[in-house]
């Protein structure tokens, strides 16, 4: 399984903190996003925002980074701490 976490405005818009997906057929972060939109058409706009960032196993990553079973993927808006 792959755990996918959402944060901040994206978490609120999707009304979801995290989902677990079977890793089958998901080779990169972009595949995960496409899969989520296919399963939840109402998530299309929120997950299509061009400024979203991703992390794989708690390290910043690009959407084409490969993913494996057991990975933790996170999708979130630009950070605004400090």
């Amino acid at each position: 399984m792959i755990k996918v976490c959402f944060f901040a405005s994206l978490r609120e818009t999707l009304d979801t903190s995290s989902v677990s997906l079977s890793a089958a057929g998901l080779s990169c972060v972009a595949d995960i996003v496409a899969h989520l939109v296919a399963e939840h058409p109402s998530w299309h706009d929120a997950l299509s925002q061009p400024n979203l960032l991703v992390a794989v196993n708690q390290v910043h990553a690009s959407p084409n980074q490969s993913v494996n079973d057991g990975d933790e993927v996170a999708i979130f808006p630009p950070v605004t701490g400090g």
Partner: protein, 152 residues
């Protein structure tokens, strides 16, 4: 070997105790540069508080990566980063970054470097809470530009 302390917590921190830790840690510390971020009122005067969310685990790991990068660029002794999460009222401390070194140039540069990268890479999100509405803060282009400037 640089020492690095990263704490993300709802609790406030004590700048005096943190400063003392840094300069009592080693006789070779001659300089401590520090930065305190504070919840600032907005121009309309209607901001009530901030709510800060973060990504537990990644936040701490990312800040530590930033601190290690600073230690590769400048001869520094220790880095402290304290960042609060949850609800913060106007005037409350949000963030503390302090860097100790033998000399002041390294401490200033590394402290500003850590703050600039923290702003653009550490996984915190701020929501502004007004009397009757809330709004997620947008990332500012000038913050991205500041972090990018360290690459040159």
């Amino acid at each position: 070997m640089m020492s690095c302390t990263v704490v993300v917590s709802e609790a406030d921190f004590d700048p005096a105790a943190l400063l003392s830790q840094l300069h009592e840690a080693s006789p070779s510390v001659g300089a401590v540069a520090s930065f305190t971020g504070v919840v600032r009122g907005d121009v309309t005067g209607t901001l009530q508080s901030l709510h800060i969310e973060h990504y537990p685990g990644m936040t701490e790991a990312e800040i530590e990566r930033i601190a290690r990068q600073a230690a590769e660029r400048w001869p520094i002794e220790a880095v402290q980063v304290y960042h609060r999460v949850g609800r913060l009222a106007l005037g409350e401390r949000i963030v503390w970054v302090a860097v100790s070194a033998a000399h002041r140039g390294a401490s200033f540069a590394a402290c500003e470097f850590v703050m600039d990268y923290l702003k653009t890479r550490a996984t915190f999100w701020k929501k502004e809470c007004f009397m009757d509405t809330e709004r997620w803060v947008e990332q500012r282009q000038c913050d991205l530009d500041k972090a990018d400037a360290w690459r040159s």
